[in-house]
């Protein structure tokens, strides 16, 4: 995987000086040591084994038997659930990520203003994210979006509209999960806030001395200085959305219904692995997902040099 690297834009001078330090590389590896130990000791082995299992018929209990490319061939040529779950997942990525980020950024910008009682708002806005994927959310979402749910009660009393059971209708079920994802916007919001706080104040001071308007300051200072954080949120939210599992597992019927409308890719993978005893096949599914996410991430890093502003 070739990705553009954080240091790519590094100014040569500074870089050379670092490199000229005696034993610079050794120092760097010392900093990296905890991660390297964990990576080699805990991550590499299981990862390679899952890669190996993707070429076998491992059923969780009996010893795996090598089956070559059979799993991959079946996935790519003869698996309608693979296609269906890909569609669900792409839909989710395309709609939930931009909406969630836009919402998180808007709220972060408002919360960054000099208003009283901000800490209360921040806590309130973070509340849904605190709930994580608890059973309570599942029940709550049904109370909201079921046939007799709160949303339909509101629709009826305001507009006399008889709404469907949103959460269990093939046309809308996935949308209710997109709404859930947006509702839990707390984490990207906090990261945006931290990013806004990291922007040096003197930039604004200098700009206002120069007579720059607030709008101009926003576009010339806030946005460029925030691009590393925007980039980060976009990448990790997209990876998370590709791997989305719990919303469908907990909130829809747990088997991807109705009629596979919420059959997220990892939900399908999980079912294959643990409900249908096809861990080998599930591993192959996982590695195909890795390739897709990696391609997307590499592409993002390549384009990042044109719009992400680093201070170094």
């Amino acid at each position: 995987m070739s990705v553009a690297l954080p240091s790519e834009a590094t100014s040569r001078d500074a870089a050379d000086r670092t490199a000229r330090l005696p034993s610079g590389a050794a120092q760097a590896y010392l900093f990296l040591a905890p991660w390297l130990i964990g990576f080699i000791g805990l991550t590499v082995g299981p990862t390679l084994i899952s890669l190996y299992l993707s070429f076998t018929n491992f059923d969780l209990i009996q010893s795996p038997e090598w089956t070559g490319w059979a799993n991959y061939v079946r996935i790519l040529t003869n698996d309608s659930k693979f296609v269906a779950s890909m569609q669900v997942t792409f839909f989710f990525v395309v709609f939930s990520v931009p909406l969630k980020l836009a919402f998180a950024l808007a709220v972060a910008l408002i919360l960054n203003k000099g208003l009283r009682g901000l800490s209360i708002y921040r806590a309130l806005f973070y509340l849904p994210s605190l709930l994580g994927a608890s059973v309570a959310i599942a029940v709550l979402w049904r109370q909201l979006f079921a046939a007799d749910g709160l949303v339909n009660q509101l629709l009826f009393s305001l507009f006399r509209i008889q709404g469907p059971s949103w959460i269990s209708s093939p046309d809308y079920a996935l949308w209710t999960l997109v709404v859930l994802s947006i509702w839990q916007f707390g984490s990207p919001m906090i990261i945006f806030l931290a990013g806004l706080r990291q922007i040096p104040q003197d930039l604004y001071e200098a700009a206002s001395i120069d007579g720059a308007s607030r709008r101009r300051q926003f576009w010339r200072i806030t946005v460029p200085m925030l691009t590393p954080v925007i980039f980060f949120n976009a990448i990790v939210q997209t990876i998370d959305a590709f791997k989305a599992f719990t919303p469908a597992f907990i909130i829809s019927d747990g088997i991807g219904g109705p009629v596979d409308a919420t059959l997220f890719y990892t939900l399908y993978l999980y079912q294959e692995a643990f409900a249908n005893f096809r861990m080998g096949y599930a591993s192959a599914l996982a590695w195909i997902l890795v390739l897709i996410i990696a391609a997307f991430t590499a592409f993002s890093f390549l384009t990042a040099r044109y719009w992400v502003h680093y201070d170094d």
Partner: protein, 290 residues
Amino acid sequence: MTTDSIDRPAAAGRLATARPLLYHVLLCAVSIVMLYPLLWMLASSFKPDDQIFNDSSIWPSSFSLGAYIRGWTGLQVQFGQFFWNSFIVATLSVIGNVLSCSLAAYAFSRLRFPGKNFWFALMLGTMMLPYHVTLIPQYVLFLNLDWVNTFLPLIVPKFLAADAFFIFLMVQFFRGIPRELDEAAMMDGCTPFQIYWKIILPLSVPVLATAAVFSFIWTWDDFFAPLIYLNDMGSYTVQLGLRSFVDSTGKSDWGALFAMSVLTLVPILLFFLLFQRLLIEGIATTGMKR
């Protein structure tokens, strides 16, 4: 919070009363939507089980603390034990993540060394594989280390920067710190470790606080790793404790579930309130200048 308006100090004078009012109205409206689940959970914790699922009113018809008592004492192990276990795991996870991830992030963002691109790409790659397929090999690994049924599988990876999310997050923020600072320090003869410790970390309080908050909350909310690695109820975390009240094949205690769900929110909410000051005010006190 007087230092809040840092993005437009010059405009502060123009800030009339109308705009904040507008913002407050807007924020209040959003707050109600955000608050609803908590109110509903609270209401459910007072309702009898036969009303939770077919009565969507937010006001319970009667107030009884029965569910709280059942929840706290009804399991083989008192619920307080789960709080304690979760507290240990979450606190150690915060320490582990902040320390080990910031070290790695410093190397990735500020140091030049051969193989950096390679390792960085691999580090990002670890975020991409769904954990379900590494679960069993990892379980076998921890089993061979004799770590199953202890907190070690939940904690040790955190000290070894296993969560690439935090490394990547810190890399993004460390890169925003002006290079001139390290260069000046290096001229003064500081070692990379001193730069990391005395310059980068103090200037990164908001992101470190962010990492701390997320570590704590996510560890607190995690149930899959504890589910696989903790066998004895005495070592359960709160999320496992909560799941013990409900079984889809038998008679669940939903009231106790909601009552204890409300209680388990309290520590993470407190943690959040405590750390958000650091998150928000950290930078103002460091007075970063270019």
